[in-house]
């Protein structure tokens, strides 16, 4: 079995936003209204003198126990055997329950206007109908043996992608060592995006 996961090293992310650009071009997201499948934002975390600034890439966490999947009334959100959570645009009716349920703020809406603008912006737009949208771990690229566009393009190799069911995979080892931690594990969503937050290298 395969269980895809991503590890993002906050120490090596330089905030160049190349991943956002690569993702937008690969997945034709409605960037004109500020909607991205992955988004790198600046973040200050900590208390008092311990406060540190980080570039913080965000995306769908492809949870093993995804609340967006549970809440979706029509089953438009589904999970592949390899753990990737996807949306069937033909079955999505745009109720936005998934956006309400997602603690990672990963989902946004693609509208009729976005399709019209997308054709002008990207030329050959693959999407034909509106629906909710989010990161797919570039499932179409993985199926061809390639890495997700954001991982492929990351300047500082901050994003690493691998298979958690493969013990020799560096991603598995980082997760197993506890260096890489998921966001909000207490919610029980069991996310498959992990972050390395090295306190020693603050600044």
């Amino acid at each position: 079995m395969t269980r895809y996961a991503m590890v993002i090293d906050l120490n090596t992310c330089v905030g160049c936003n190349a991943c956002m650009a690569a993702c937008a071009m690969e997945n034709q997201t409605p960037v004109w209204k500020g909607e991205w499948r992955t988004y790198v934002h600046e973040k200050e975390i900590g208390v008092a003198e311990q406060v540190r600034r980080r570039f913080f890439p965000r995306l769908c966490n492809h949870c093993s126990n995804p609340p967006c999947l549970t809440v979706c009334p029509t089953g438009a959100t589904y999970q592949r055997a390899d753990g990737i959570v996807l949306i069937d645009p033909e079955r999505c009716m745009g109720c936005r329950a998934c956006a309400m349920a997602c603690p990672y703020d990963a989902r946004y809406e693609v509208t009729y206007d976005d399709i019209k603008l997308g054709k002008e912006f990207y030329g050959d737009l693959q999407r034909t109908s509106p629906s909710m949208d989010k990161c797919s771990f570039c499932a179409h690229r993985l199926d061809k043996g390639m890495k997700p566009a954001c991982v492929e393009t990351c300047v500082g190799s901050a994003r690493q992608f691998g298979d958690l069911d493969d013990p020799s995979d560096p991603v598995t080892q980082l997760v197993a060592s506890g260096i890489a931690q998921p966001l909000m594990p207490h919610l029980g969503t069991r996310p498959n995006v992990y972050y390395i937050d090295d306190l020693k290298r603050k600044g």
């Binding site: 209204k33 909607e35 988004y39 934002h41 600046e42 973040k43 200050e44 975390i45 900590g46 208390v47 406060v51 913080f56 965000r58 609340p67 999947l69 549970t70 809440v71 979706c72 009334p73 029509t74 089953g75 438009a76 079955r91 999505c92 009716m93 745009g94 109720c95 936005r96 329950a97 956006a99 309400m100 349920a101 997602c102 603690p103 703020d105 989902r107 946004y108 809406e109 509208t111 009729y112 206007d113 976005d114 109908s129 509106p130 629906s131 909710m132 966001l183 909000m184 919610l187 029980g188 969503t189």
Partner: protein, 400 residues
């Protein structure tokens, strides 16, 4: 004035009212079309405030639809004659309000044209899918219930239909409250108390709506409602309003007990701006304390106008309460790094702002227009006006 002339004027007034309500509905459809075409980017809704003003209207109507059936339940299930005479109107209002609420919800979907998908593909883990079944079933059960009440041959089955409707509406409101109760992505929700709280809210809103509609119908037809009937209803209304207050207190005290919820409670109760104002002024003062005081006042409470005004205040308070629950609940962020100070350009740890737009308001009002239009036409076509027959109502039945 002779009967002929009166009927002519009354008929003209009916068409004027139906036309006005039809216009309100059409404006609502227009607003929905505008939002659907351009997307929610033209509204106040964002990725953070996912559900906005239309949901406040929709949830109010859905919750009130369930509660308004209480009048019929008290009549059929608990055998109170005064309420029994009002049971058909209660059933009609339940259907009309649910239709109005669901219309708003459907038109607010990103793809309302795909509603059929929701009716044919079910994810049974989803509380929303369960709600689709419960709403559809509610229409069917209440329609059968009305039939058993209005068709003489079916009277024998009325009690069974009423009992089924009573149980079904409890399930429906439980599921509506659970929409929020099952959400872990906001500090405000993920609480088991929301389901019973929604049930008691439905009792209060539903009865308030019923009193308002009933009063308007009596006024419209030049009839006078027996003060004894309104007196009984006002006692019940005050009890329900008090029960909502009780659940609200328990909800907030429970939150305050948990340290992780302290910041959220601080936000809603103390420094949440519009949400704090709506909570204290809208929900607690205008929507709860004033109506309870008026309804229980020994002299003021006996006045029909006071009861009607109190019902109106409870409706206003209901909207304020749902605004705080639905939008205030989304405005407060989930804590990403508990115990840490944080600021980010991705709205983490930041209060989310929401400015309702005109199309959202028009869609919500359109839903109310839809509910009232259905009621107006149905009352005109069928005999839904309460038929009180005091010869058969014992004195005791009016005094408990």
């Amino acid at each position: 004035m002779n009967i002929e002339a009166f009927r002519k004027i009354e008929g003209q007034a009916f068409y004027a009212l139906a036309g006005l309500l039809g216009l309100v509905v059409l404006i609502g459809f227009g607003a929905a079309h505008y939002m659907e075409t351009h997307g929610h980017v033209v509204t106040g809704m964002t990725n953070q405030i996912v559900w906005g003003l239309p949901h406040v209207f929709a949830v109010f109507m859905i919750v009130a639809a369930s509660g308004v059936l209480n009048v019929a339940s008290i009549g059929s299930v608990f055998g109170k004659p005064v309420y029994k005479a009002r049971a058909p109107l209660s059933g009609l209002l339940a259907i009309a309000l649910l239709a109005g609420g669901l219309t708003v919800l459907m038109l607010d979907l990103g793809r309302p044209d795909r509603l059929i998908v929701a009716m044919t593909h079910f994810n049974f883990k989803s509380i929303f899918a369960l709600n689709v079944i419960l709403y559809t079933g509610f229409f069917a059960i209440v329609a059968v219930y009305i039939w058993t009440m209005m068709e003489r041959k079916m009277h024998a089955y009325s009690k069974y239909a009423g009992f089924s409707a009573f149980i079904w509406r409890l399930a429906l409101t439980t599921a509506t409250g659970s929409i929020f109760g099952f959400l872990v992505a906001r500090q405000a929700y993920s609480s088991a108390i929301l389901a019973p709280m929604f049930i008691i809210m439905s009792f209060s809103y539903g009865l308030a709506v019923f009193i308002l509609v009933q009063s308007f119908m009596y006024l419209w037809n030049g009839l006078e409602l027996d003060p004894a009937i309104l007196r009984r209803m006002k006692n019940l209304l005050a009890t329900f309003a008090g029960a909502v207050l009780y659940f609200t207190i328990v909800y907030h005290l429970t939150n305050l007990y948990f340290a992780k919820q302290a910041a959220f409670e601080q936000f809603i109760l103390v420094d949440g701006g519009i949400f704090t104002t709506l909570f204290w002024v809208g929900q607690i003062f205008i929507g709860t304390l004033i109506p309870i005081a008026l309804l229980l006042h020994p002299t003021l409470g006996a006045n029909c106008k006071t009861v009607i005004w109190s019902a109106l205040l409870i409706v206003v308070g209901g909207f304020a309460q749902l605004y705080v629950i639905i939008i205030g609940g989304q405005a407060f962020p989930l804590e990403l790094f508990p115990g840490m100070q944080e600021s980010s350009t991705f709205f983490d740890g930041a209060i989310h702002y929401y400015h309702p737009s005109l199309p959202e308001l028009l869609l919500g009002i359109g839903g109310i227009g839809m509910a009232l239009l259905i009621t107006t036409i149905a009352v005109r076509v069928l005999r839904f006006i309460p038929q009180d027959d005091f010869h058969h109502v014992s004195k005791e039945a009016l005094t408990d």
